[in-house]
Symmetry: C2
DNA sequence: TATTTTTTTTAGACATATCTAAATTCTTTT
DNA sequence: AAAAGAATTTAGATATGTCTAAAAAAAATA
């Protein structure tokens, strides 16, 4: 069984490698969880002993298969709890992270299974991040959230990652449906909102909306 | 801010004093949280320094006002989470304790406020225990859960502590309503179920049902 | 390539929370 | 009231997880 500190280190390694899938440095982990590199170094020894990482002194670190499984499960729990906080308790998506950071360490397989089912097996968390399945698979990012497209790119709407009436109503109003073709004209850096062309009509879409639209890029 | 160990000690002291409101012994606390009396002794020093308890060496311990507030809040969180687990996630009431024991330590006032509201401000947990209010007051036990009555006692149904359709439907079937007069004939020790007289008719009520019926004893 | 800078690790310290064994204090019994 | 027994505390040890400062290794630069 993992201690809290071990879990936090594993999750940090996973988080970093999701952005940049190279060997992870001690410094990067230290920064991620706000502790000293020396402490990370200590912990890496411990995680190596437990065979949760692949690690050679001075050479950076990778998760082992076992470590990856465990870390992915923590991420899964984090994201499911975020869904609960936002979708059920009506938290603002910006305020849930710290609470989910605590909840992710609750130990009970049954709890997470039931929570998953209670939330209707969501595939994305309130920030649009994919939720790994029980066996550690990330939903295939076959489709790209609209907010990840660049200016000039075109694509077709293939789905949404939220199923609230108000959201879907709004999409209808914007003339967006499954199958709608989009052309990203430009992205406003200030608020990450987007100007798109829908059926030759120029429309402005907020980042909040864009991140929940799954696009099949052309 | 309290550490996990401090929270557990405070909660143990509160739990014991709810059953027997005398000075609490070191041994009793040790037994409650399954650690050695020596460790408890150490912790008591620490809690005294933080003014969370009233304590003199060898003389037992009481919660201070501050300690009582904090301990009550932990109990409140524990019982609210139990409601969530049973009422929303459909856990069996017997399996929620260990999970709630973890959840009770999650730190976020807003989370508990929202959870309380999401659960419709329950007054009793799934075991029929009262849930302290935000400001630490226990719901006045003006009424007694039916499962706490003894053989021979009589009373009137004043309310229920659960509002599920299936439960209420069942009560109707049993001819039980607000205002119904009951007479407890005997209690079956094996499963804590009860034989009662309702309108001169003999009825058998399970413990699960009885604990959710609030009785005004005659 | 030699030197400097940065990164990483080691060494040694400290706080928390636990333990066992021994000493102390309180309680009960005779 | 003294002795025996029980409860409590103290003393000293251990594990975890953190730190800072110093040493070692790797990377960058001159």
């Amino acid at each position: 069984m993992l201690t809290l500190a071990e879990e936090n280190h594993l999750k940090a390694i996973l988080s970093i490698s999701l952005i940049n899938p190279k060997k992870i440095t001690t410094n990067a982990i230290a920064k991620e969880i706000s502790i000293s590199p020396a402490s990370v170094s200590d912990m890496l020894k411990k995680l190596l002993e437990k065979k949760l990482i692949k690690y050679e002194k001075y050479q950076g670190v990778l998760l082992s298969k076992k470590g990856l499984t465990l870390a992915t499960n923590i991420l899964r729990k984090h994201r499911l709890w975020e869904c609960f906080l936002v979708n059920k308790l009506k938290f603002d998506w910006a305020e849930v992270h710290d609470i989910a950071e605590q909840l992710e360490h609750i130990r009970s397989v049954k709890l997470i299974d039931k929570l998953d089912s209670y939330l209707n097996f969501p595939k994305y968390d309130p920030h649009g991040e994919p939720i790994p399945s029980k066996n550690g698979e990330f939903p295939k990012n076959k489709y790209t959230p609209l907010n990840k497209l660049c200016a000039g790119e075109k694509g077709k709407v293939m789905g949404v990652t939220i199923d609230e009436k108000s959201f879907l109503d709004y999409l209808t109003k914007l003339n967006i449906n499954i199958g709608t073709n989009l052309h990203v004209l430009d992205i406003i850096i200030f608020d990450n909102s987007i100007n798109v062309l829908i059926d030759d009509e120029r429309t402005h879409i907020s980042n909040d909306v864009a991140k929940h639209l799954l696009i099949n890029k052309l």
